[in-house]
């Protein structure tokens, strides 16, 4: 299964930066959906909990919700949409491996996989 891994980019507190990053994700995802391929968004666990500023939180939580909606649409066409969230110390290769697994799984969609242990005991996003 081919597809795209989209890493969320760091943003500041300026709305223009937030909108630009969400628009970048939208444009990329729409193209992937049109090609009927799968995708994985990669975000930071701390951003899902709002710990690194409002801008990054809006991007991370926005991408998670968008992936859930895309998963509903993709399930009718056979492509998948998932999210990987990682703790700050996680190494990029491990995160990339999990994202690749989700792209290849085919039967897992709309899921959030959290790499690391920082999410334990915290809110479910």
């Amino acid at each position: 299964m081919s597809g795209v891994i989209h890493w969320a980019v760091e943003v500041g507190e300026d709305w223009g930066e937030v909108l630009a990053e969400l628009t970048r994700a939208f444009e990329s995802t729409r193209a992937v959906a049109q090609a009927e391929e799968s995708f994985v968004y990669v975000v930071r666990q701390d951003d899902l909990l709002g710990r690194r500023g409002t801008g990054n939180a809006m991007v991370a939580a926005g991408l998670l919700s968008a992936a859930r909606t895309a998963a509903l649409e993709g399930s009718r066409k056979g492509w998948t949409a998932n999210v990987v969230a990682f703790d700050e110390p996680s190494d990029r290769a491990a995160v990339e491996t999990w994202a690749q697994r989700l792209l290849e799984a085919g039967d897992v969609t709309g899921e959030l996989v959290r790499v690391g242990h920082g999410h334990i005991g915290k809110a479910l996003p």
Binding site: R30, T54, A61, S65, T69
Partner: protein, 232 residues
């Protein structure tokens, strides 16, 4: 008067119900904000007609709050729109419009008004059950997920003085839901365990609870008001 409360998207539907509930329930100055020209509310509500997606919009609301002469004790970010389409067909304009109104306006207004909020104040952001995913609403779902993220971040940054929570309504009987074709709406209701649409007043009641000391130990949470639809 105990203070001022700002409610956006107050011209109709959920926002109107919230503004009227606030005006009727306590000794507050309620400022109703909407872009709609038909912002005719009860005499107890001060109308402010502005476009919150502009730089000037939030500044005008801020000026109105300062002119009220009372501390700001509540902000309800409710204004929202939909421009539904399947992701593969969604236009750039429909994406941007929904993000600007549903998320950008709420963020800008929160930033403009947070410095005015008094100790013990509360912010309630109206998200949507669509933040859990909803077919044909990539833009709306992303915007409401963004609202949830904003809620969590502001809950941390404005603590301990100000609480910030979100309400995520499900299918509510309002102008927005009346735009859904009837047979689709009927199918949606069949999937709701409580077997009916919610009412704007039921959302207003939840918002009221989150604005008042009744919920004084709750911050950073999302309260889904959806008749059990998230389970069915």
């Amino acid at each position: 008067m105990n203070g001022t409360i700002v409610v956006t998207g107050a011209a109709r539907g959920i926002g109107r119900a919230i503004a009227e509930k606030m005006a009727a329930s306590g000794p507050f100055i309620v400022i109703g904000v909407d872009i709609a020209p038909e912002l005719a509310l009860s005499e107890a509500i001060t109308p402010v007609q502005v476009d919150l997606t502009t730089v000037e919009g939030p500044a005008m609301v801020r000026e109105t709050v300062e002119a009220s002469g009372f501390p700001l004790v509540g902000l309800v970010n409710n204004a929202g729109i939909t421009r539904d389409a399947r992701l593969v067909n969604m236009t750039d304009d429909d994406f941007a419009a929904v993000l600007e109104v549903n998320l950008g306006a709420a963020y800008r207004l929160s930033m403009a008004l947070a410095p005015l909020m008094s100790e013990g104040g509360a912010v309630v952001n109206i998200a949507s059950r669509a933040y859990l995913g909803n077919f044909g609403q990539f833009n709306y779902s992303m915007s409401k997920g963004g609202v949830v993220g904003m809620t969590r971040a502001l809950a941390l940054s404005l603590a301990p003085g100000i609480r910030v929570n979100a309400v995520a309504p499900g299918l509510i009987s309002s102008e927005m839901s009346m735009g859904i074709p009837e047979e689709v709406r009927e199918r949606m209701v069949e999937a709701i365990p409580l077997d009916r649409m919610g009412t704007p007043d039921e959302i207003a009641d939840t918002v009221w609870w989150l604005l008042t000391p009744l919920s004084s130990y709750i911050t950073g949470e999302v309260i889904v008001v959806g008749g059990g639809r998230s389970l069915s």
